[in-house]
């Protein structure tokens, strides 16, 4: 396996520690393990496969990495039925038609190879990522791959292992500078092993209280220290409970932002009950939390933290 040495990566990111600091500067708090996986993905030129519950910051990794590398982010949102024409390339039919007409008007013959040339190609995210001519390799984010179907996975396999794309009419296009690939999955279904095997795998867990508090204070600086602490502790309590859909870090941040917008300096029972909809997305869950004693939970977390 060829090791892609990309100078700016080796010069700026010398160690896992540097990377961790760079991420933190950009308000992303990464565990040592996650930083190691990202670091290796850069050094070994391999895709990074991130799995975890919704809202733990998988997509964010790609975004912040783009910023660290000061490059372009190419994003492919997966969905069922995603096919080559939407993910890789499509021919620009209207331009082809025009071309035929123009030639016809001049009385020239249309050659098929002229018609199916790079000029008439619409580049979709995967082709863009492979064919880029920039100085810096882009970051390619293949988001929520579990939403796509098996056919697409098989297709992705070729691209991720060789960083090349074959278009029958044109030939094989190989990446000069392979993109940094981040694949995310919410695990609504199992992804085939063959694909995972080509990647570095990391499972992102819900953060600990300390880590989540860091994230909240970094991302929502307007929140008072007390509010941030209470919100984090409250969410951590909810995660221990028996909920159908457990709130992720994204919900913690949304909630904090919402409370700040409502000018709250601290959590009160009434305001928790009014804003539960921000963190709980199922009616059953809302009812369950309402029935449990919100006041007692608040008192408990105030003692604990």
């Amino acid at each position: 396996m060829p090791t892609q040495q990309i100078d700016y990566m080796t010069t700026t990111i010398k160690s896992i520690d540097t990377l961790q600091d760079l991420l933190r500067e950009r308000l992303y708090v990464a565990d040592r393990g996650l930083a190691t996986a990202i670091y290796l993905a850069l050094k070994l030129g391999r895709p990074l496969f991130l799995e975890g519950e919704a809202g733990v910051g998988k997509t964010e990794v790609a975004k912040v990495l783009t910023d660290v590398l000061d490059t372009e982010l190419i994003r492919l949102q997966c969905y069922e039925g995603l096919d080559v024409h939407h993910a890789v390339y499509e021919w620009n039919y209207s331009r082809q038609m025009m071309h035929i007409r123009v030639l016809e008007a001049r009385g020239e013959r249309v050659e098929e190879k002229d018609l199916f040339s790079a000029e008439f190609l619409l580049r979709r995210p995967l082709l863009q990522a492979i064919e880029n001519s920039n100085q810096k390799a882009p970051v390619l984010l293949v988001d929520e791959i579990d939403r796509s179907d098996e056919e697409f996975e098989a297709f992705l396999l070729e691209i991720l292992s060789d960083f090349q794309i074959t278009i029958p009419e044109i030939g094989t296009i190989k990446a000069e500078r392979p993109p940094v690939v981040v694949v995310t999955s919410n695990r609504t279904r199992e992804i085939h092993d063959a694909l995972k095997r080509r990647c570095l795998y990391y499972w992102i867990d819900y953060p600990t209280f300390e880590k989540e508090l860091q994230i909240v204070t970094a991302k929502v600086p307007a929140a008072s220290g007390e509010l941030a602490r209470q919100v984090t502790a409250f969410i951590q309590e909810l995660r221990k409970g028996d909920l159908y859909k457990v709130p992720g870090v994204a919900e913690t941040l949304d909630w904090t932002a919402a409370l700040v917008a409502l000018d709250q300096k601290r959590l009160e029972k009434s305001i928790v009950e009014e804003t539960l909809g921000v963190i709980l997305k199922y009616q059953d869950d809302v009812e369950k939390v309402m029935q449990s004693d919100v006041g007692a939970t608040l008192a408990r977390i105030n003692v604990m933290h």
């Binding site: 290796l40 070994l44 039919y93 695990r187 159908y244």
Partner: protein, 405 residues
Amino acid sequence: MAENSSNLLHNLLLFGRLLRALGLDVNLGRMIDLVQALDHINIGNKGDFYHTARSLLVHSKEDIPLFDEAFELFWRKPTEEWTTLDLRALGEKRRFRKPAFIPPPLKKPKESASGTNGDTSISEDEPPVVQATLTYSEREVLRHKDFSEMTGEELEEIKRLMKALVWRLGMRPSRRLRPGRGTQVDMRRTLRRNLKFGGEVLYWEHRDRKVKPRPLVIIADVSGSMERYTRLLLHFVYSLSEGLEQKVEAFVFSTRLTRITRQLHDRDVEEALRQVARQVPDWSGGTRIGDALKTFNYKWVRRVLGQGAVVLLISDGWDRGDIDLLGKEMARLQRSCYRLIWLNPLLGSAEYEPLTRGMQAAMPYIDDFLPVHNLASLEDLAEHLKQVDDHRPVRRQDKAASRLL
């Protein structure tokens, strides 16, 4: 120095072998990747070394705890000092767990039928001759006989007949397109076909939706009250997962839910069922359907019920758990799947009415309520499954809503 690194390599390879022995998908290529990766990190830092090895060698959350144990062992002792005991201790946790209950093997037909067969030294591999000797009417009787009243040899016969059943589950339209007579225009092919007309489109090519089989999820009750049916129903589950082209996910429960999909993959049905028996901790225990369904709803629904899945729930509805919980979880389950089919072995007897509290609570949320007590009922089921797509089940919204309040 050179000796050091070759020593490390040696140890790494041993580590790899250990992981493989534990069932992780680790091969030489992966180990070479690991050696390459180690160039980039400080091997002296245990944490970094751990995460490097883990991100390369593990690619499923389930395998992480196993990897952790192996890693601890690897780090604690030089590999030369590993004892077979250490290795076995690791392996035991995963593989050699004592089965809580192994269903008793059924009597081999030849044991009881030895009277008719003078030669008792027939090898076990030889295909039994029972089938050929059954007349049409005998087979008809067998088809309608309740599973629980069958003798050992009849059961063997049923298993064979069950294998012959053809399973096909309804299709669903996928989002993928293929050339066909649909309404979508296939521009690529249209353009090619009309090239010669100089920019005039005379013929349109079309694309059509591809159809895909629906995923099937089976949740089977193996509690005490189902005991007489359990063994055969597991055979039935096995033949379904073998016979269908799509993925089949299988779970069993009595007081708690166990996923048995992986165990069913064994080629040999008896071996597969032995594995299942080993895996299930609460064989023939009490029944807590509500709890089992709750576990399923919370832990598995998002992973296995995508893409319009059909759910087969096999149980007699004797529930000793929380009835309200059962109703609530049934409601949720029904909302999460395309069709919820409940198979009840008791439904076979004419005088049965679903009066048990469990059944009463569950009834409003069942799309199809079918018997599963004899071969004829299985055949009917096979026919029914083929047609699940003809029309969506009619579900009344207010029922589900009022239940929640």
